[in-house]
């Protein structure tokens, strides 16, 4: 039995800008025009829906 290792934090290196997850079909980030409601409540970096920029919670707020 291999003894468990005990690495220092962080356990994993920081995730790469584009990692294993393939972010497909990013047409939305070029074309999306967020609603005024969303603009008012989510920090927005221009008229884009960019998963590289937009926080996860903000992105998931689009689900309905």
């Amino acid at each position: 039995m291999t003894e468990p290792t005990q690495p220092n934090i962080p356990v994993l290196p920081p995730p790469p800008a584009v990692g294993l997850a393939v972010i497909r079909n990013l047409e939305a980030k070029l074309a999306a025009a967020p609603s005024a409601q969303l603009l008012a409540k989510v920090p927005w970096d221009g008229p884009r829906l960019d998963p590289d920029i937009l926080g996860t919670r903000a992105m998931l707020a689009w689900l309905r």
Binding site: M1, E3, P4, T5, Q6, P7, N8, I9, P10, V11, L12, P13, P14, P15, P16, A17, V18, G19, L20, A21, V22, I23, R24, N25, L26, E27, A28, K29, A32, Q37, L38, K41, V42, L49, P51, D52, I53, L54, G55, T56, R57, A58, M59, L60, A61, W62, L63, R64
Partner: protein
């Protein structure tokens, strides 16, 4: 100062004064550490989040003295002293809040602590939120560091216990384990096993979310909700791949319609299922991955802070190149389920359906 009644992760409101009424399962889905003590400091409860960050197995810490045997770094006036004074004074409600640094052998963690005694019970709760993690502080005497898992159970490797690099107990199972699960489902619960597996997935997803929160704060110092969506997708995909579940990809093309599409290639559940059958009495039998759907929906819901629904709409077990899942608001699940039961399959067909299905306004 932290408001534990409104945890920083997610939007779940939580009344700390009711914490003693929460089941262990409920405590395991909270995005901060919870440790229940008696008035002597003996550990009575220890939730999943705390176990993951402390890299300890709760089965090994329950019944031990928190200050003397487990978190030795908390001995002294700054932490233990506040607890002892609160107990001696017969404190009730929230009686101490402070910042602290936990020193482990594997690293240091900046935390914010709230001590609570629910009214009428002889139990005390430590609520612990990690704000930053880093390497071990070199000036800490070894005897003052928190205990390590291998100290609590030094010979467990000889007793058939395996752990991953962060000391979680893990079990390696072959593909046949999932084939056996599916065979059992088909035999005992044709037509209803999907509900069981979906809920199993939801329960697992809530715990996986805690695991991912741990990863997020260790890798980028932020919660899952705060990191860019790409990083979240990477963490999810990487973790599922590490577990051998398959490889997840995220498609945001339909996000303005309120739909997130996730593809999973080489799903172990799809490959463990009988090939390409839609049973006469089990119209969803060709969708083999409700467990994975539940998992994905629960992880997304954790981050969103509201209930979301994930459904598999095309499956590799039926000959599709990959399994495809849609994630939407909880309100749309019935429309999707009815369509799937009628035989509708595929992302495009479900998107078309949802354009006329009830939805909910974004809750931001």
């Amino acid at each position: 100062m932290l408001e534990f009644t409104q945890p920083p992760v997610g939007r779940v409101t939580f009344d700390v004064l009711q914490i003693d009424d929460r089941t262990d399962q409920e405590l395991d889905t909270l995005p901060f550490g919870v440790i229940g003590l008696d008035e002597e400091g003996t550990i009575l409860r220890y939730n999943l989040y705390e176990a993951q960050f402390a890299r300890l197995d709760r089965n090994q810490v329950l019944g031990r003295d928190f200050f003397k045997e487990v978190a030795r770094c908390t001995r002294g006036e700054a932490f233990e002293g506040q607890f002892r004074r609160g107990v001696a004074a017969g404190a009730s409600g929230s009686f101490a809040r402070f910042s602290f640094v936990f020193d482990f052998k594997f690293g240091a963690q900046e935390v914010q602590v709230e001590m609570v005694r629910p009214a009428g019970v002889p139990r005390y709760y430590l609520l612990i939120n990690r704000t930053r993690v880093g390497p071990a502080r070199p000036d800490r005497p070894p005897a003052t560091l928190a205990v390590a898992q291998r100290e609590l159970a030094p010979d467990e490797g000889t007793k058939g216990v395996r752990r991953d690099p962060i000391e979680r107990r893990v079990v390696e199972v072959p593909w046949a384990f999932f084939a056996a699960l599916r065979a059992t489902c088909d035999q005992l619960a044709p037509g209803t096993w999907q509900m069981f597996c979906a809920e199993w997935g939801v329960q697992f997803g809530r715990r996986l979310a805690i695991d991912l929160e741990n990863l997020a704060i260790e890798t980028s110092g932020r919660s899952l909700g705060e990191i860019p969506m790409t990083e979240f997708a990477t963490l999810v995909s990487r973790r599922l791949a590490q577990q051998g579940m398959g490889r997840a990809s995220f498609d945001f093309a339909a996000i303005r319609e309120g739909v997130l599409v996730i593809e999973v290639a080489r799903s172990v559940l799809a490959e463990a299922a009988p090939r390409g059958r839609r049973g006469e009495h089990d119209p969803l039998s060709d969708l083999a991955c409700p467990l994975l759907a539940g998992t994905l929906g629960a992880v997304a819901g954790h981050v969103a802070g509201r209930r979301l629904a994930a459904r598999e709409v095309a499956c590799a077990s039926a000959g599709e190149p990959v399994c495809r899942f849609v994630v939407t608001s909880h309100a749309r699940r019935t429309a999707i389920d009815e369509a799937l039961a009628r035989g509708t399959r595929g992302v495009e067909a479900i998107r078309e359906l949802l354009r006329s299905a009830p939805s909910e306004p974004r809750d931001d």
